[in-house]
């Protein structure tokens, strides 16, 4: 689960990490009132969407008068913001963050992530703040310092201090940054985060440090421990089909193509997408119905795929293991009756009791194209999508 910047900053503030003064707003009037309450003569109007690169897309603007706050807020609220992380369709901005402007002397990058290789939380720090860290990693990897954190010992202050010195920070802020890193690690642990990122961490002209942007991703598997964080979920940021799928116990991701795929198991679902592409087609989605593939799940899956307007054909690929093919076939028939499909349906069943399963499908009134191997299924689906 992803948090908005303003939600992440509230958590950082609660852990004694300095962030700019500011407030979230949902209308232009709220934005103007928030700016007035902040006083000063420089404000930042920031679009709150779950994607990076907002500044380049025009979603972050500096104002030096209340009138400018009003005009920026009007321009950004409701705009369709397109960044390198939103995809080509972009995201409509529904929330703003109004903050007091910060006088920037230096910008750094700080991140905490779970590193699969070392199986630990790793601190990443770089003198190259305020830019996309992934491009730094490619163009100038030497500018990123990392520190593996021993989960038993916690973050060592000495090791953190060495990292801080290596990224070229003035000595006057070393103590503050070391303390900030330790607090950030606390945030990571107490929230069950998978990513905590401050980019940029700013050294101000008067020598203070401030987290000017913040990003927190949470571990979905640990949300049962954090009901207060689960409430921060913004469903408007998520694909409605993906939300419906989650509620039905399915794993679903919308894609750009026109062949709907219904598969049991994540690996097989990806492999099915791949073989469609290999035969010249484009998958419309990733969909894992799980090992069970019950009637309810299959009919929910059909409904979700049919909502995707570009879908021209549906490919069902099920490998029945413990869950037998005859049970799955009966479920598919029932689901197909419940949902008026009206699109070509290619079904490939394999595994336990496959003959019985194929017989049930053949005896049913549903109209479908039977397939034997994955190759056969993909070729038939691609051909049907071209008609």
């Amino acid at each position: 689960m992803k948090l908005h910047e303003y939600q992440a900053k509230k958590i950082l503030r609660a852990h004694q990490i300095p962030v700019p003064e500011g407030n979230p707003c949902f209308s232009v009037e709220e934005a103007v009132a928030a700016a007035k309450a902040l006083e000063g003569n420089r404000w930042v109007v920031k679009a709150q969407i779950h994607a990076g690169g907002r500044g380049n897309g025009g979603g972050v603007r500096v104002a030096s008068s209340i009138e400018e706050v009003r005009s920026h807020a009007s321009a950004i609220l409701g705009m369709n913001l397109i960044t390198h992380q939103t995809g080509p369709t972009g995201k409509v901005v529904e929330r703003l963050l109004i903050e007091r402007g910060v006088e920037i002397a230096d910008e750094l990058y700080i991140g905490l992530v779970v590193d699969r290789g070392s199986q630990r939380v790793v601190l990443m720090a770089s003198s190259e703040g305020g830019v996309d860290i992934e491009s730094v990693a490619i163009q100038d990897p030497g500018k990123i310092r990392t520190l593996q954190i021993d989960p038993k010992e916690g973050m060592s202050a000495d090791a953190a201090r060495a990292v801080v010195a290596e990224i070229g920070l003035p000595e006057s802020v070393h103590d503050d940054v070391v303390k900030l890193l330790s607090n950030l690690y606390d945030v990571f642990l107490t929230c069950d985060a998978t990513l905590v990122e401050v980019n940029p961490l700013v050294v101000t002209r008067d020598g203070n440090i401030v987290a000017v942007d913040a990003k927190i991703n949470l571990d979905d598997s640990a949300m049962y421990r954090h009901p207060e964080l689960a409430e921060l979920r913004d469903l408007s940021e998520e694909d409605p089909n993906e939300i419906a799928a989650t509620q039905a116990g399915l794993n679903y991701i919308s894609l750009e193509g026109n062949i709907g795929c219904l598969v049991n198991g994540a690996g097989l679902a990806m492999a099915t997408m791949d073989i469609i592409k290999l035969h010249g087609g484009e998958p419309a989605n990733f969909l894992d119905v799980g090992g069970g593939a019950t009637t309810e799940q299959v009919s929910a899956a059909f409904r979700i795929m049919l909502k995707h307007s570009s879908v021209r054909v549906i490919l069902v690929n099920i490998f029945g293991g413990i869950m037998r093919c005859d049970v799955i076939a009966a479920g598919i028939v029932e689901a197909a009756k419940q949902v008026d499909i009206r699109l070509p349906l290619v079904i490939r069943l394999e595994g336990t009791n496959v003959e019985k399963g194929r017989q049930i499908l053949a005896d049913s009134k549903i109209s479908f194209l039977p397939a034997t191997t994955m190759d056969d299924a993909a070729q038939k689906a691609v051909a049907a999508a071209r008609k």
């Binding site: 992934e134 989960p151 640990a222 991701i253 198991g265 990806m270 998958p283 394999e350 994955m374």
Partner: protein, 292 residues
């Protein structure tokens, strides 16, 4: 011969009284030498009872001491599963196979740290388990699709592995051992580790490896293969069509931070001399061709 498990393994099921644990323990018990190997279950507070005539103990240590268990399989719900792994590690078992999906990452980071310097090997979590065909099945895979033979199989996924095994069996290629290492980012054995086991196993002639997007395990394995592997390896990497930044079902299957794309894994494996196919329907046929 085989790797990790054989007919001398003595298995304890942690979480044997839950629906899943009970069902799959029965299926494993009925497979090949399962009735000799599945000798104990553990559910705290239910010691003294039994499931399918398998005695239940309150702790793994007790199961080990009374029944000689050296392997554990875990079906415990996600919020208690890391502690169940810890218990098996503390009991100094040789092998722990964790089937449970959805264990919090923070729990697994601590559990893996606790395992440093300990003898226990972990397979999983979020995996189908390990099977040595016609000898012993520990996990949730359908036993009947497997045949004893000389192909080692290692994979991060469940049903895709069944698909591959089914292809192999239908072509007359049996398997030495099939290992599902799981779809989570923080896990026990990696492709590289299992590859090393297969390299040492006289019964294994060739290895089929199914990787997927996310992380760099396949690239690490490719490096290892280049330097050490003496047997042919066939590979398929799932997720060529997966978009960046989207988690494809498995917690670990995500292209993030510019890493984990299928194309890089395929390139690394090819460079290491691995026979890579981009067609999941041809994994079996390619293996047969490679073996000549």
């Amino acid at each position: 011969m085989s790797i990790l498990i054989d007919r001398t393994s003595r298995v304890v099921t942690q979480g044997i009284t839950g629906k899943t644990g009970q069902f799959h323990t029965r299926m494993c018990f009925e497979y090949a030498a399962g009735r000799d190997c599945f000798v104990a279950g553990v559910t705290p507070g239910k010691g003294g009872q039994s499931v399918e005539n398998i005695p239940i103990f309150d702790s793994v240590i007790e199961a080990r001491d009374k029944k000689g268990c050296n392997v554990s399989v875990i079906y415990v719900p996600p919020r208690f599963a890391a502690a169940a792994i810890d218990e098996a590690v503390d009991a100094e078992l040789d092998l722990v196979i964790c089937i449970t999906e959805g264990i919090p990452v923070r729990d697994m980071v601590s559990t893996r740290r606790r395992m440093v310097g300990k003898k226990t090997i972990l397979v999983g979590p979020n995996c189908p388990g390990v099977i040595t065909p016609d000898v012993l099945k520990i996990g949730i895979m359908p036993g009947y699709i497997h045949r004893q033979g000389s192909i080692g199989v290692v994979s991060r996924s469940g049903t895709l592995t069944y698909e591959v095994v089914d292809q192999l069996t239908k072509l007359g290629l049996g398997q030495s051992t099939c290992v599902g290492i799981g779809g989570d980012p923080i896990n026990g054995l990696k492709h590289r580790d299992v590859m090393a086991h297969f390299n040492e196993d006289p019964a294994t002639e060739a290895v089929v490896m199914c990787g997927e997007i996310g992380g760099t395990d396949e690239e690490d394995c490719a490096k290892w293969i280049e330097q050490h592997m003496s047997k042919p390896v066939v590979a398929f990497i799932a997720g060529v069509t997966a978009p960046a930044g989207k988690r494809m079902g498995h917690a670990g299957a995500i292209i993030a931070g510019g890493k984990g794309a299928a194309s890089e894994k395929i390139a690394a494996l090819k460079a290491a001399g691995v026979h890579v196919t981009q067609n999941p329907a041809e994994i079996g046929a390619l293996t047969k061709q490679v073996l000549g």
